[in-house]
Amino acid sequence: MRRFITVATCLVSLVALASAAAAQGTLRVGMTASDIPYSGGQPDNGFEGFRFVGYQLYEPLIAWDLTRSDRPAPLVPGLAESWDVRKDQPTKWTFKLRRNVKFHDGSPFNADAVVFTWESIKKQDAPHFDTYGSAQVTPRLASLKAIRKLDDYTVEIETNNPTSFVPYQVCYMLIVSPTQWQKVRDWRKFAEQPSGTGPFRLTKLVPRERLELEAFKDYWDPKRRAKVDKIVFLPMPEPTTRLAALRSGQVDWIEVPPPDAIPQLKGAGFQIVTNTYPHNWTHTLRLDKEPWNNKLVRKAANYAVDRVGICKSLLNDTCTPATGVTYKGHPWFGRPKETYEYNPAKAKDLLRQAGFDASKKPVKPVHLISTSGSGQMLPLAMNELVQKNLREVGIDIDLQPVEWNALTQRFRLGFKGENEGMNAWNISFNFQEPWSAFGRFFYSKSVVPVSLNTMPYINPEVDKLLDEAAQTFDIGRQNEILAKLHEIIVDDAPWIFIVHDLNPRVLSPKVKGFVPPQSWFVDLTSVSVGK
C-alpha cells in the first residue's frame, strides 16, 4: 500500500509539473457566455459578443474610446477619420475613411469594404447576405437606409429621417473583409477564418470550447498594438466554474464572480475590478392599471427600497444605488427633484396620500422576474429584498419567477395575453446610447410591438425632448436636452429604479494594465500578463 501511495504521489506531481509550463504573454479569459460568440462579423451573445469577439477582431467606422475610467466612454474616430452631416440634407452623412489600414488577410480597407459589409447586413438577395449576422445587428442600425461609395475613401450614409443619433448606430456595424469572404464564400466558414481590421486576429476556434486570438502585427494604430501575444476565451456560463477555473490558475480573468466569493478572492490577492457603466436593474411598471398608474404609489415604491442595503449586504459592493435611468455624474443625469434615498416614512406618507392603506386597501401587484440570466445579477435574492422593503411600507408584491428565455419572450409582448395579470417586470437594461436609454422605452412611438415601451409611458413633453435631441447635432447641447428629459422621467417614476451593476470582474495578480472603462466593452490592447 505504501508503495502504491508513493507511486501515485509521483505520478500526480509529474502531471502537475507538466501543467505549470504554460505559455507566457497569454491572457486567458473565462466568459459568461455559454458558447463562443459568432465571429463572422456582426456578433451574437449581446454586448459580451461585441466585447470579446466583435471589437477585438473587427472595427466600426466610429469606435468607443475605452482608454479612460473616469467618464462614460465617448465615441471617437475608428475606421473613419471624420464624419459630417450635410447641412442642406440632414439625412445624408459623409464619412472620410482612414487610409493605410489592412485587414488580417492583408487586403486594404476602403469604401468597397464598407459597402460590402452594409450589403451583407441589408441586401437580402446579395450572395454575401449574412442571414444570421443581419438578424443580430439590424435592430441596432434602425435609422440607416443606405450606404454609397463616393470614392475609394469616402462613403455616404443615408438615414430614414434626420437624426443626430447616427454615430451611436454606426458604432455597431463591424467592417468585414470582402477579399476573405470571396475566398471562402460562406459565412460559417468565414466565422472560422475571419478577417477584420481589429487589433487581434483569430487563430483557433473550437465551438463551445475555446477561441484563440493573437496580436495583429500590422494593426494601423501604433498606440493600440496589443501587449499580449495571445488571448484565449473560454465560455463558462456557471459562476462557480469560473471561480474554480480562476482559483486553480486555469484562467487569468473572469467575468462576473459570485458576489459572496469576493472577500475571499481579495484575501487571496486577486484584483477585483469594478466601475460604473451604463447598466440598470429595475422594475418596469405597468402604467395603465392599478396600483402603478398612480404616480404617488410609484414614488412611494422608489422611496421604500434600501438600495445601499442591497449593494452592501447582498452584492458585496458590486453594484451602486440607482435613482434614475442613468447614474450621478453621467451627462444625461441632470438634477432630478426626487432623490429616492431610503425613506420608509416618506413612502408610507406618499401611499396614504394616494389613498392606499395597508389594512383597508393593500397594494398587491404581481411582478414577473427571472431566475437568472445574462446581466440579471442575482435576481431571486435581490427581488426578495425588494419585496421585503416594499412590504414594510404596505406594498405587497407577488413575485413570479420564470426562466430567462421565457421572460424575454413575454416581455416583448407587453402586458397582454398571458401577461394580462402582471403589473411589472424585472429585466436589466443598458443605456449605452440615447435610443437604448430613452427612445425604446419612453417614446410614445415605441409602444410594443414596435419597440419596448411596454408600460406604456406616454408623455408629450418627453416625446418633444426626444425629437429635439435627435435633431440636435451638437453633442454638448444634445446631452443637456437628454438630461432635462431624464429629470422628467425620474419625477414620473415609471420604473422602480433599483441598482446599477458595477461590472465586476476578477483578474489574477499577474494581469497588468487593464483600464476598466465606463462601458460594456473593453480595450484588451493595454493588458499584459506577467509571470
Partner: protein, 312 residues
Amino acid sequence: MWAYVGRRLLLAIPTLLGASIIVFAMVHLAPGDPLSAVMPIDASKADIEAARHRYGFDRPLPVQYLHWLGRVVQGDLGKSISTRRPVLQDVTAALKNSLVLAVSASLLSFGLGIALGLLAAFWQGRVLDKLMSAVAIVGVSVPHYWAGIILIIFFSVQLNWLPAMGASAEGGAVEYLRHMVLPTIALALIPLGVLTRVVRSAALDILAQEFVLALRAKGLRRARVFAHVVKNAAPQILTVLGLQFGFQLGGSVLVETVFSWPGTGYLMNLAIFQRDLPVLQGVILVLATFFVLLNLAVDLAQTLVDPRIARH
C-alpha cells in the same frame, strides 16, 4: 439469433420515434421559444416573424415534426438555431467526449465495484463487508454534482493539482487525461455504489445455493468456488453494467455541467436553456439509439455468458 437481432432492431424504430415525439412536444410545451435566445431583445416583431418563418416555426407542429423526420431519415439532423453549425457535427464531437468519460468512469467503477462487491460477499458480516457497504452507500447517496464541486475545491483550488473545468487544452494527450481525472471520479461514484451492492447481493444469493455447498463439500479450493460464483452471477451483473453504462452516457448532464465538460450532457443542458430544438432532438435521438443498441448488446452478451438464456 440473427432473426432475433433483426427483430430487436426493428423494435427500436418505434422506440426512437416515441422518444423524438416526446422531446418535440415537451420543448413546445415549455414556455419560451428558440428565437428569444438568438434574437437581440430590441428585435422588432417583423424581424422576429421573419426569422420564425425562415426557421419554419410558423408552421403547424405536426408539419414541423414530419419535416424534421423527413430529413433525419435522410441522415440530416439539421442545423443548430443558435450556432448554425450542423447538429450532426456538434453531436458527434460531444458524443466522443461523453463516450471517453463514460468509458473511463465505467472502467473505474466496474472494476472497483465488482471487486468490492465480491470481497464483501465472501467476507459477509465481517469488518471488510461493513466497510464496503459503507462505500456503496456513500456512492449511491452522495449527489455526484456535489461530489464534483468538492473534488474541484480540493484538487483544483486548494492543491492546484488538476484543472477545474473543460476538456482539452493545448498540450495533447497528457493534458486531456489531466482534464478527465476529476469528472471521471465524480461520474464513477454512483455506478460504483450501485455495482458494489448488486454484485454483493448476487454473489450472496449464489453462495447460499446448494451447489456451492456441494462444491465445498467436494473439497474445492476457495478460488475455484469463487470462479463458479462469479460465472453464475455474471448475467445479472452484465444487465446492471449495461444499464449503468447507458446512464453514464446519457445521465451525466450534471457532472458535465459542473466541469464544463463538452459532452452530450453539457450540450443538452445548453440546448434546453436556448430552446435549441434541432440540437436537443439530435442529442436525444443519438442517445436513444445508443441505449437501444447497448441493451441489445447486453442481451446478446448474456447469452454468450449463460447459454441457458436463449435469444430467439
